[in-house]
Symmetry: C2
Subunit: 217 residues, 2 copies
DNA sequence: AGTTAATTTTAGACAGAGCTAAAAATTTAT
DNA sequence: ATAAATTTTTAGCTCTGTCTAAAATTAACT
């Protein structure tokens, strides 16, 4: 499997998470930052390898083999991200590009030993679950902060959007995974939310509240 | 710089270590396991980038830029090898292929943090020096075991040949870096050498003795 | 020195991944 | 239901890195 093929599988997997049914060529082209024609070529190749199901003009879907392969790449990505944060002093907004490279290194022993070295973690630095060796993913009972009602409490457990800008914004607000927060109130005018984190009260925009996952307490 | 270009630079660097003067196209082709014509093409490309000096039919040499680039790749390779052995339970004969992949990951922060995480080591698991950030390589006063005279003592500090077969052979003899050994005698018939390692006496072939570095005591 | 041998370079081709432009199929909308 | 708009595919080109076969250059050996 080439680097490019692995990246396509990941992209199709992630697109399949939200939208059910077949994934359109255009949607894949957008996340891969390439052209629909290139996507068609690649999908055909992946279909030949039995990793995606594909009917002309009907979009693509991962086969079970493809799904497992995609998950194995995601497992590597997330383990490396955690390694970078825990052992090499990276911050959560710096890890993505490097993990994107490391995830393609081929060695079963490497990844299993890394897993053990990190003590078999279950979530990465963004709160996303780390699939186990067999491709099982621990689903966590998380909801968007925006869905909490006034007075409810939650622990910050993940981000939906892990762009640098958003992560750095959270850093400035001193919001990080594991932090407990309480919803003080909602502002009807712009849907922003007043929350208390530790003993400081802050305002968080609607957009931010729709990209931050919490576990209700 | 592509993966292929980096590998060529490394190959030329290593070939230049022994043979002085220009490195022949054929020599490069051999270590790269490719054809001379492919080497010519690549050398031209590297020459265009100012990384090698090249005159038609006269072989190639690294420029200063090329040398520094090659060393930076070697630095990464050796740091990763040490990481694999020290942190992930790899043995010294298992690390090469994985380090070969990891060495191409691009991130200055990654490699400097890895260096710090490993506590700024100076040698890799095979006893080869790890270049520092600026490309300086600590030369060590090592000699081949074969050059020791009867009665002399040395500490095992490196291997010239780091093939799996040789490393596993050393493992079976329980010879590893840091082990102290004494030359008990040489066998004129086949040039094999009798040595004492710890409190067991063993025989080591001439070939092995010419691939094992020791520091005289 | 001159001829053969070995090395190195050129020329032309190919496979992988991607692009553009144009054709085909499907969807949407009048 | 048919035309317009959108999406998807095809066809043909480009760029890397490689290969083979043939030509050019250098080296080696009488």
């Amino acid at each position: 499997m080439t680097l490019s093929e692995e990246n396509y599988l990941k992209a199709i997997y992630h697109l399949g998470r939200d939208a059910k049914g077949a994934i359109s060529t255009n949607a894949i082209a957008e996340v891969m930052a390439t052209k629909a024609s290139s996507v068609t070529d690649m999908i055909k190749k992946l279909a030949d390898k039995g990793l995606v199901k594909y009917k002309r003009y009907q979009g693509a879907n991962l086969t079970e083999d493809g799904r497992l392969y995609a998950i194995s790449v995601i497992r590597k990505h997330r383990l490396w991200e955690l390694f970078l944060v825990e052992k090499l002093n990276f911050s959560w907004d710096e890890v993505h590009d490097v993990a994107e490279q490391l995830e393609h290194v081929k060695s079963d022993k490497l990844i299993e030993e890394l897993d053990a070295f990190l003590d078999f973690p279950s979530v990465d630095p963004h709160g996303d679950p780390i699939p186990d060796k067999d491709g099982n993913i621990q689903a966590s009972a998380k909801v968007l902060l925006a869905t909490l009602k006034t007075g409810e409490k939650g622990v910050c457990v993940g981000v939906k959007n892990s762009s640098r800008a958003f992560l750095q914004y959270l850093d400035r607000l001193e919001v990080s995974l594991g932090k407990e927060l309480t919803v003080l109130g909602k502002e009807p005018f712009d849907n922003s939310i007043a929350i208390r984190v530790g003993d400081t009260a802050i305002h968080i925009s609607s957009l931010a509240a729709n990209n931050l996952y919490v576990k209700k307490l």
